[in-house]
Amino acid sequence: MDYLSHTPEERRAMLDRIGVKGIEDLFADLPNELVDPPIELPSPLSEPELLALLDAIKAPDHVSFLGAGAYDTHIPAIVGYLTGRTEFQTAYTPYQPEISQGTLTTIYEFQSAISRLTGLPIANASVYDGASAAGEAAALAIRSAKKAGRVLVSRTLHPFYRRVVATYIEDLSCSDGTCGRCEEIHLTGEGLTDLTDLEAKLDEDVAAVIIGSPNFFGLVEDWTAAFSLVHGKSKALAVAVSSPLPLALLKTPAECGADVAVGDAQPVATTLSCGGPYVGFIAATEKLVRKMPGRIVGQTVDLDGKVCYALTLQTREQHIRREKATSNICTNNALVALAANISLNALGPAGITELAELNLQKAHYAARELTKLPGVKPLFPKGRFFNEFALKFPAGRAERAFAELPGKGYVPGLPLGRFYKEYADGLLVAVTDRRTKAEIDGLVAALGEVL
C-alpha cells in the first residue's frame, strides 16, 4: 500500500545507473549510530477502514447557534465543484506565470473582490486567517511607523484575535529598539469601543488602532468616529476588522477612514472544519503597497502583448529580501481564497446583499423571540447588530444552557463569561442564513424548558 511505481527490475536498473549496490548506500552520509530508530506507528489501514474511522469524527446531531469567528453559512454548490478541479488543487505558488495563469487570474480576481468589499485599493493574495491578518496589519503598522510600537486594540475585538495580534508583535523590533506592545481600549457599558479611552491613549507612540465591526458581541461600531480621532490625534494606522457578509451592507472601511482592513472570508468560502483552514484577507491604501505582506498579483502582458498576470512587487518578499522582508509569509490560503472569490462572484452585488440581509433578518427574528423568554434580555439593548447578538440570562443560566441544551439537540451560543468576567451571564448567539425558522423556534422552546 503506497503510491510508488518502481518494479524490482526498475529499481535494480536505476541503482546500477547510479553506481551503488542498494538503496541503503544512498543514505551513507547519515550518522550510523542514529540510523533506523524504532518508531512506533500503528499498522497500515485499508481505504475502507480509514474512511470508516474518519467518518466517526463528528458531533451528535444538533442545531448550532455558535459564531464567534466561525459561521455556518450556505456555500453555493458550484464553489466546491470548481475548487475541486485538480488543476487548482495540485498546483503550487505561481512562480512560473506562463503555466499558472489560472491561479494568477483568480488571485487577481480575489484581490479585486476584497478591494470592492473594503473600498481599499491594494489587497493581497490572502493570509492564513482573520486573526493572523490582524497580526500582519499590526506588524505592517509597526514597520511603517517611525518609532512607534504601541498597538491599541479594542477590547470588543475577538479575544483570540487580540491574543494573536499580541503574539505577532511582542517580539517585533521597533526602530527605537523596543518591541511592539498591545494595549486594550476599554469597552463601554453598551458593548462598544470606548472612544474617550481611545482618545486618552492616543499619542505619537501609537502605531495602529484595531477595531472590529461587527465586534465580538456582533455590534456595529462607529468606525468613522473612532478613525477620525485616530487621524486627528496620531499618525497611527486605523485598522478595521470585518468579514465579507457584513461588509456587503455596512459602510466600507475606506469610507470610515481605515488605512487597513482585514478579516476572515470563511463565512463565504468554507465549512466550519473544526477551525481551519479558513482564509484571511488584508487590504490597504495605495501608500502602504510596499509594506504589504505576502503575494500580490498584477496585470501585465506577454511577449505577444496579450493581457496576463504575474506575481508583482516581489522585492517585498522573503525569497528576495530575506531578513528585510515585510513578512515571512509565502504559502498562504490560496485554495480557500479561490473558494471565497468564486462564491462572491456567484453571489454578485445583488446576491451578496440578499444573503447579508437574510442573515440580518434571521438574527433579528431570533433576538426578538429569545428576549420574549422570561428573564432573557438583550445584553446591549441600544446596539445595532448584524447576525450575532449577546443576551443576558438570569444568574448562572448562560453556562447552564450551554451545558444542558446539547442534550436537547441545540448549542444555544457561546457563554461570554469565558472571555469577559463582567458578562458571566451573557450568551453570544449567532444566527446565519442556514438556520431555519423552525430551528430558531425550537431553540426558543428548548431554552424555555431550561430556564
Binding site: I39, Q89, V164, C274, V279, N333, L347, P349
Partner: protein
Amino acid sequence: MSEKIIDRPIEPAIYAHSRKGRRCHRPPAPDVPVRPLDELLPPELRRAKPPALPEVDEPTLVRHYVRLSQLNHCIDVGFYPLGSCTMKYNPKLADAAAALPGVNALHPLAPEGMLQPALALMYEFEGYLSRITGMDRFTLQPAAGAHGEFTGIKMIRAYHKSRGNPRKVLLIPDSAHGTNPASGTMCSYDVVVVASDERGNVSVESLKEKLSDDVAALMLTNPNTLGLFEENILEVAELVHRAGGQLYYDGANLNAILGRIRPGDMGFDAVHLNLHKTFGTPHGGGGPGAGPVGVKKHLAEFLPVPTVEKTDEGYRLDYDRPRSIGKLLAFYGHFLVSLRAYVYIRYLGLEGLRGVSAHSVLNANYLLSQLKGTFLLPFDRLCMHEFVLSGKKQKDAHGVATLDISKRIMDYGFHPPTNYFPLIVPEALMIEPTETETQQTLDAFTAALLAIDQEAAEDPDLLHGAPYSAPVRRVDEARAVRELNVSWPEEA
C-alpha cells in the same frame, strides 16, 4: 495567408464577462417575519451601493473557472520537480476523508464533549509526528512552514528570556530558505550568515567563528537546500549547544529521511514540518498548507495555546499555560490539512513512510546520474531527495540563462525546477523529482533537458523566446511592477 492555428484570446478576469442584471446564485427568501431594513440597520450605517462584484450567469461562471483551471500546470497533469516544494502525488483518499460531512460541520467552539473525536485525532496525530521526528510535543496550530518557523523561533526566544537573556543573534546558513532570516527578524533577532564549505555542508570553521553567547539558535535544513545531508551534523549540534544555543530544524526536506533518522536524535530542539510537502496534502495553488511545530521537553511550556491534553475524563483543550508564547491563529490550525496528513500516515504505516524516503532519494540520484554530465554539478556527491545543478556552462558558452532553460522546459510539458535558488549556486536549477514519479517520467525529463542543452548550442534565440506552447508567451514580470494594476478598475 490562412493560418492553421487560430490565435485565440486568453480567458480574461471574470469582470470582463459581467453584464448588468445577470444573476448566478440566489439566496432563499427569508422564512422568518421580516422588518424594514432601515429599522434594523439605519441608512447612516450602510454603504451607499452594493459592492461592485461581477454580474454573471452560472454557465458563464462555471465555464470561466474551468477554462482558467486549464491554464495551470499541476501535479495531476505532469511532472512538477519544483525543488524544495516536494510536489508529490496527493492521495485522493485523503481528500475524500477531508470532505466527509462530519468533520466539516464541527464548530471549533462546540462544547468539548462534542469535539472529543476531533481532539482525539489531533492528540494521536501529534503523537505520530513526535515519534517520526523524535520530539516530545507538537502544536498543530501554525498554518504553513513560515508560520511554523515564527512559532519555533518565538519559543526559543521565550526559552532564552526565561533564563534571563533572549540573546541577539540567529545563525543561518548561506544556503537557507528566505523564510529563515525573515522569521528571525519577526522575533527581533539579528541574522548572521554562516558559510558553506567545499562539500556543501555548513562550514564548521565559519560556525565556530560566528558562535558566541549572543547566539540564540542555528536554523538548519537537513538535508540542506543543496539536497545534501549535513555530514557534520553531530559536531554542529554539539558546538551550538555548548555555546548555549538552540538548534532549529526547518522541515522542508524531511521527505528525504522519513523513518530513517530523526531530527530529535540529531540534536534539534525545535522542528517545523510542512504537511503539504512531506505528508502529501495538496498545495492548493499556494496553500493552505500546515506547519506543525515539535519541540523537546524544555521548550514545551512555551507552546501556543491551546494544547490538547488527554485526561481520565477525555480530551481537553488547555488554555491555562502561563508561559505560552500565545496564539498564532484564531483556532487550532488547519484541521482539515492535519486530517489529510493523518490519513497519509495511517495508510502508509512506518514501512510505507520508509519507502517514501527510499524512493525519493533513489529517484533524485537516478535523475542526477543522467544530468550531471551535461550540467555543472557544484557539489559532486550522492544527493538526497533533490539536487542543485548550475546552468553556468550554458550561460557562459551560449548566453542562455537558467531562466531561458526553465521557460523552454515548459514546451516539453514539464514544470521547471526551482531556479536561482539556493543563492550560493550561480544559475541554479534545483530539482526534486519526489518518490511518486516513474522511471519513464524521469527518462522523459532527462531527454528534454539534454535536448534543450543541444538547442542552447545550436539556436540560443530559440530559448530566449521560450515558451512557445504554454498558454501565454514569456510574461513581462517587470511591467507588472512598473505599471501596477492589482485590481480590476471599478466603473465610476
